[in-house]
């Protein structure tokens, strides 16, 4: 548990994967309070992610609901960088619930097909290195005989 503000940010979901919060995504680096102000440091997932502005607005409006908070500043940081290893254990589960295989956690696995998020079969194949968003790839599960998405290791 990292306290009240982190708990509040559990309500801010990734606009493109609504089952996972930005905390579970590992995007929140640090939250500091000074009197009635909060400074939230966020690690963007992909540099060109079009959802960043929406995420900023949602963080601000959610934290402004908290009693005693009058101002919220969101700052994007690149140091330390967000990598797919920042996704928390529960976050990896949330991705699966949404039908997205979590990213490989080991460099040697970067290019291997992840287990199918529906049936856990491991004999899928790559359909497309790019998917509906830049951070996802599309695979095909030979057991379920259906496509699924996977988050890239970056």
């Amino acid at each position: 548990m990292r306290g009240r503000w982190w708990e509040a940010l559990q309500d801010v979901k990734d606009p493109e994967i609504p089952s996972i919060s930005i905390v579970e995504m590992g995007m929140v680096h640090q939250i500091t309070q000074k009197d009635h102000q909060l400074l939230v440091e966020i690690k963007p997932t992909f540099m060109g992610c079009p959802a960043l502005d929406i995420i900023r607005e949602r963080i601000e409006s959610r934290l402004l609901e908290e009693e005693g908070i009058e101002k919220v500043e969101v700052r994007w940081i690149t140091n330390p960088p967000w990598t797919s290893d920042c996704i928390t254990t529960s976050g990896r589960e949330r991705l699966k619930e949404y039908g997205i295989a979590p990213p490989p956690q080991d460099d040697t696995q970067t290019l291997s097909t992840p287990a199918c998020p529906y049936c856990n079969a491991k004999d899928g194949e790559v359909e497309n290195l790019f998917g509906p968003t830049a951070c996802r790839a599309i695979y095909y599960c030979k057991r379920c005989k259906q496509p699924f998405e996977g988050m890239k290791r970056v």
Binding site: F46, M47, G48, C49, P50, T78, N79, P81, W82, T83, L111, E127, N128, L129, F130, G131, P132, T133, A134, K152, V154
Partner: protein, 264 residues
Amino acid sequence: MKVANAKQAQEDQDYHRVLCEFLFQLADDELTLGHRDSEWLGLSPDIEGDVAFSSIAQDEVGHAVFYFDLLHELGEKNPDQLAFARPLTERRNATLLERENGDFAYSIVRHYLYDVFDSCRLEAIEQSSYQPLAQGAIKIRREEYYHRLHMSAYLNRLGQAGGEAKKRLEKAIHDIWPEIGGLFCWGEYENKLFEYGIISISVKELQERWIMQVKSTLLKAGLPWPGDWPKVKRDGRKGEHSPDLAKLLSTMSEVYQSDPSARW
């Protein structure tokens, strides 16, 4: 030498000038090619290529925004103004990247050759004396990895398919080659970039690394090495550009120019 932030960079006038000039090259390369990528949307010969070009366009333009943000912190105008309102002669992208897309083979070959170049260049700025740039490069390189992978897979597929696919690739390489040298021109501060540690390896070494990687990919795809290194006729780093860029800028900035003061 370590320069922690924009304020420190501004204290040394010469360092500041060299750094900004280089950031414009990085930003303009990414923005120009990113725009060309976006033009494939809905037109690629297969869905895989279409989806990939769209995502890659988004990445490249996102990277350009990152570099423009750095420039803005260093005292330049805001990113929108830098992207849409600078005249052609102030653009610093290599001319190869502004060329019209031509056919699919041309776009694939150009992107692959640029991706290898960009990855070598990013590697050389991961240790940059300018800390905000070094940190961004580390992150961007992890994303670019997938671009190169995708483009080399297509190159390989088309090359090994033989027939018309291979012929078009060969023509693309032939057409691209005269302009390849422009990527490795880094403007009038080339030596200073290295001296100031803004990049950690010289252009010459970067070029050797590029040649090694590209040679092995072409060989694998059954394509010949084009031979001698061409002389640069038109140097984009000095603001020398083709009519293709004029047309691209007019399309790209059409909405912005309709009301530059509007907030979108």
